[in-house]
Amino acid sequence: MSNPRKISRRQFIREANCAAVGTASLFSSLFSLRLTAGVVSGSQLPGYKAMVCLFLSGGNDSFNMLVPRNPDAYSDYLGVRGFRDSSDNYVGLALQDTLLNPGVADADELLPISSEGQPFADFGIHHKLPILQQLYNQGNAAFVSNVGTLVEPTTLAQYKNESTQLPKGLFSHRDEQVHWQTLVPQVRGAGPKGWAGRIADCMAQVNQTGAISMNVSLSGTNVLQAGQSTVPYITAPNGAVQLKDYGTDPTTQFAADSFLGQHYRNLYERSLAQGNRKSIDTAIAFADATNTVTLNNSFPNTNSGKRLKAIAKIIAARGNLSMERQIFFLRRGGWDHHKEVITAQDALFTELNDSITAFWNEMVSRGMENDVVLFTASDFGRTLTTNGRGSDHAWGGNHFVIGGGINGGRIYGQYPLLAQGGPQDVGRGRLLPTTSVDAYGAELASWFGAPSEELTTIFPNAGNFFDPITTPFPLGMLG
């Protein structure tokens, strides 16, 4: 890679304001659009695009999501994860395959796929994710392997010698969840804000007359979607919440408007008043826009199902909302499998499978499958070795990306050797990542339409891994 550029924090903050509105903080999602619209010059981007971030919080044990089916590699996998027998008190984590472990395995828990560009061709997807296998074989899904938070490229020797900068608070949920969202892991905390927020800051002019923020969350506040002048719009699966009696009782409306229009000395009062003002107004616009939409498919009434349904509805209402670019966020929790990986993942993957199937079908029914990309994120992967039937916090993990517009049917990144003492093992089968989240994110951002000259602002460490100007698609997955 040529000219990797290390960005100090101070430099980053100066460069952060793509929209060049200084450091003034305009957190009204309605107002920020109007103010930035006039400032940024940029060509109108064609069509509509949406990114959906599905955050698996807790740390998905993703080396049971994408498993080698090459005989030697599978044998390594069996060895490090522990063979599972069919007794109730089994110990071990490995998924079974009767072809690769004949006479011993009594179940087939891997759906076969193959990939170019990896040390071997044969892989398997966790058996509860048939939609992934189907989409992968159609070329509408891909995996990114052994991806994790890094500040700069780091070898095992460098990790042990502490001779490169490392993410702060490695293996801790809170720190790693935040790092996946800020992509400035050398700085602890949420101060740098989120890379989707920075994308929205840069590209806000695209939704000039839009009724809501480019960034919409179905799972409450988050760091990913917070930007310098971008505040995500938070909504619930049942739609926007409207304030009782405000629209129907003049007394209530008068009093509310009067209270919310006061200037409050106290910072918390002031923030609350401004927030409520925005929430009341945006809910009205949002309800007007989405109430006329009917979806073509039914969605499962599960945690992720409800949220993907709401996202599908908002995407369907994009015309009413005047949105041309949208970034959605939903969190599905429950992945912190210290105790029990197999049954927990069976249930969670089944849920995801059904939600994603409904979502994909809905997008196809509207001819939008090429305009939408759904990608996963998670705190970290988990230890290859087990503590019995569970696994502990680790680092690099596997993720999947779904969309009609991707170069699917492939595993990107470098699938690692699954063995203790392997070249990526920092201990207990915690794997040093070989692909940075920066590369993963930049790929998505470039597809979304972020100009390549803005990539180092959006991803301050990107230059440590690749040259964003000449290779805005470092993986080749989306461009």
């Binding site: 209270f259 106290n266 923030s271 503590n387």
Partner: protein, 693 residues
């Protein structure tokens, strides 16, 4: 529409204030020195502000108790004695202007001061609590340091018989329950036949629900006693929060439960009530006890063992698997020492490069994971509420053959040696030694101090405040009184509630003082202040689905990291100022309006619909008194200002309310009731209700 006019109240919240440019009195040693004017009165705030452009001013230091101090998050040099204090700052090549702003003196009436105190110390003030407060009618000096009457009230509260959630459940569930005074966990009491079977209990795989005939006999709808099997623990919790006489104890227990979080999410048995309420009782029983005892009870609790996955954890030698690391990490990160080394005043200790210093690393976690090995649930037995074949109530024991006895190196380099005898008693001794190690760690005092302050009084305590609470925790003494044992909760709580920073009204002029209150506390405030009554068959207050409404509900924290983080910063001015506001993390477009709508529902429909489980009311506000004074709009608003906003209502908002309510008819009882309900709802739309300062 009458024109509203504004009233300047005698409490003096006016806008104008005197300003003086502070004099830079000297320049020496590369520093600029600013002499700070002496204070003239307590309860009067002076602030030193600086600006680089004479337009945008930021407070840097303040004085409200006759001593200048930093304004968080600044850490500036203030030296001198109480007569002359000087602020010093290294010259950094940037021109800065200083000024001193002196705010008007503020006072609260006794009742306003008590109402405000009760918003910090309980789930909500009631007229009864206010009128019975020590010294409530004292003419002078009521709300002045050292806040003797408030300390008296705390001492009284420690003597009030405690509301045990476990006892409440057991008396009303399985008729076969009997008293077991020698139980390892207190309050294993027997069934009370006069109360009968009111709450779902489990015997193995069979659930026993209360009888709908009870509801019909009470003239209630048949489904009045059906809460859904998993709601038993919430029902008991609401009873304690709404009706418990030990109001301070219950509020402290709630704060502790947000440190030692145990949620039903991920539980194998969310419907089994006794194990959850028995766990929660740890905080109720020890709210005036000791932090070390709390930590021990939590560690050996099998529900926690399941939640943080260390029950049945095995040493490596047992089957070649590594010990689960979950508890080793979270007991340090969340329950005791936190992530970064701290000074007693809560500030970060920095290394030579100006970087914060971690308290532990991953190797420590791998090491300490070995300590939490061998913990096992006790055998199931009768006289407990249980499903399947497990005992999630009696404390875990340590199975020596699964325990790792190898030598352990602690954080300070101290060593727990490998014992000769690999037996249960030595295993327990090792765990105990490790718990001592964590509680004795210097970090634990400021770490716990800051969280308790954030839960009760302010989001951004000054270093002075944190230090005072830290010291009470460390010494076990407040004002020389207490057990003298490290971790004394009474001393710590007194330090939190009685510090001038929590008590003085003067800091109302400091724009970063105070906090956004927790949503569930705001909802329960209405319930308590308006004397909620229960028409329910058994007298319960079955709030429900509050996590859907405003992302907070007892036993329903989404993860062990609680509803919000101590360091959360909402986008906008709060983030720009560099201060924290945890409760804003769950204050979104959805939840903020959800709470307001929930309050509307409580006022107009009772415990029902969006905040309950039924379409009919299972709890009603008792507003008879308010209706009786409602013909006088001003009297009504002033009364609600006392009960809901503790005198914080601004003159403008007060005028709007009086005008708007005064415009409504009042000639019939029905219209007076409309006035009260409308006024109650409009108070919830005023930011002064939601924020306390």
């Amino acid at each position: 529409m009458r024109v509203a006019f504004s009233i300047l109240l005698s409490i003096g919240l006016s806008i104008t204030h005197a300003q003086a440019d502070a004099e830079v009195t000297s320049v020496s040693g590369g520093k600029v020195h600013v002499e700070l004017p002496a204070s003239t009165s307590s309860d009067q705030l002076q602030q030193l502000e600086w600006s680089t452009n004479l337009v945008a001013w930021e407070p840097v230091a303040r004085d409200y108790r006759q001593e200048w101090e930093n304004t968080y998050p600044h850490q500036v040099d203030i030296s001198g004695d109480s007569q002359t204090q000087v602020f010093s700052r290294t010259i950094d090549g940037q021109t800065r202007y200083f000024r001193v702003v002196k705010h008007p003196e503020t006072t609260l009436t006794n009742r306003q001061a008590v109402s405000r105190f009760l918003q910090q110390a309980t789930f909500g003030p009631t007229t009864g609590l206010i009128e019975s407060f020590p010294g409530i009618d004292v003419a002078e000096g009521f709300n002045k340091a050292p806040y003797t009457y408030f300390e008296q009230w705390i001492d009284q509260q420690a003597e009030v018989p405690l509301f045990s959630l476990r006892k409440f459940f057991r008396e009303r569930s399985n008729p076969a329950f009997v008293d077991n005074p020698t139980s390892r966990v207190p309050y294993e009491v027997g069934h009370n036949p006069e109360l009968g079977h009111q709450l779902v209990y489990n015997v193995g795989s069979i659930k026993y629900a209360p009888d709908p005939a009870d509801a019909l006999a009470a003239g209630r709808p048949e489904n009045d006693v059906d809460f859904g099997y998993q709601r038993g623990k919430q029902i008991v919790w609401y009873q304690a929060a709404v009706t418990g006489e030990d109001v301070l104890r219950q509020r402290v227990a709630w704060a502790l439960s947000q440190i030692f979080v145990l949620g039903e999410e991920g539980s194998n048995q969310p419907t089994v009530t006794e194990r959850f309420v028995s766990y929660y009782d740890i905080f109720v029983r020890n709210a005036f006890g000791n932090y070390r005892d709390i930590l021990e009870e939590v560690t050996y609790n099998p529900s926690m063992g399941y939640y943080l996955t260390y029950v049945d954890n095995k040493a490596f030698h047992v089957q070649g698997t590594y010990p689960d690391e979950n508890y080793a990490r979270e007991i340090m990160q969340l329950f005791t020492i936190g992530l970064w080394m701290l000074n007693p005043d809560g500030s970060l200790i920095l290394d030579d490069n100006g970087e914060p210093i971690p308290t532990y690393d991953n190797d420590d976690i791998v090491e300490f994971a070995k300590i939490f090995t061998g913990m096992r649930k006790r055998a199931k037995r009768t006289n407990l509420d249980y499903a399947a074949s497990s005992n999630y109530i009696d404390p875990m024991y340590i199975q020596a053959s699964w325990h790792d006895f190898s030598e352990k190196v602690l954080l300070d380099g101290d060593v727990i040696p490998e014992p000769q005898e690999k037996n249960q008693s030595n295993a327990k001794a090792e765990v105990d030694k490790f718990l001592d190690h964590l509680v004795d760690h210097p970090n634990t005092a400021p770490f716990v101090a800051r969280i308790l302050i954030q839960r009760l009084t302010v989001s951004n305590p000054s270093p002075v405040y944190i230090q005072a609470v830290s010291e009470a925790f460390s010494t076990g003494l407040y004002n020389g009184k207490g057990t003298g044992a490290r971790g004394d909760m009474t001393a710590t709580i007194k330090a939190v509630l009685l510090h001038p920073e929590a008590r003085t009204p003067a800091l109302a002029y400091d724009d970063s003082h105070g906090k956004l209150r927790e949503p569930i506390i705001r909802l329960l405030h209405y319930a308590r202040a308006m004397n909620i009554t229960s028409p329910h068959t058994y007298g319960f207050f079955p709030f429900d689905q509050l996590d859907e409404v405003f992302a907070q509900s007892p036993f329903e924290s989404p993860t062990v990291f609680n509803f919000y983080q101590t360091e959360y910063q909402p986008l906008g001015e709060i983030l720009d100022r560099g201060i924290y506001a945890p409760e804003f993390q769950i204050n979104t477009d959805v939840t903020s309006l959800g709470l307001l709508n929930g309050i509307w529902t409580l006022i107009y429909q009772g415990i029902a619909n969006s905040i309950g489980r039924r379409g009919y009311s299972q709890g009603d506000l008792n507003i008879d008194y308010e209706i009786s004074i409602a013909a006088d709009a001003e009297a009504l608003i002033d009364h609600l200002d006392l009960m809901l906003t503790a005198g914080r209502l601004s003159p403008e908002n007060r005028a709007t309310l009086i005008s708007v309510i005064g415009d409504m008819p009042s000639d019939t009882w029905w219209w007076r009731k409309q006035r009260v309900q409308r006024a109650l709802y409009l108070f919830a739309l005023a930011p002064e209700f939601h924020v306390i300062y």
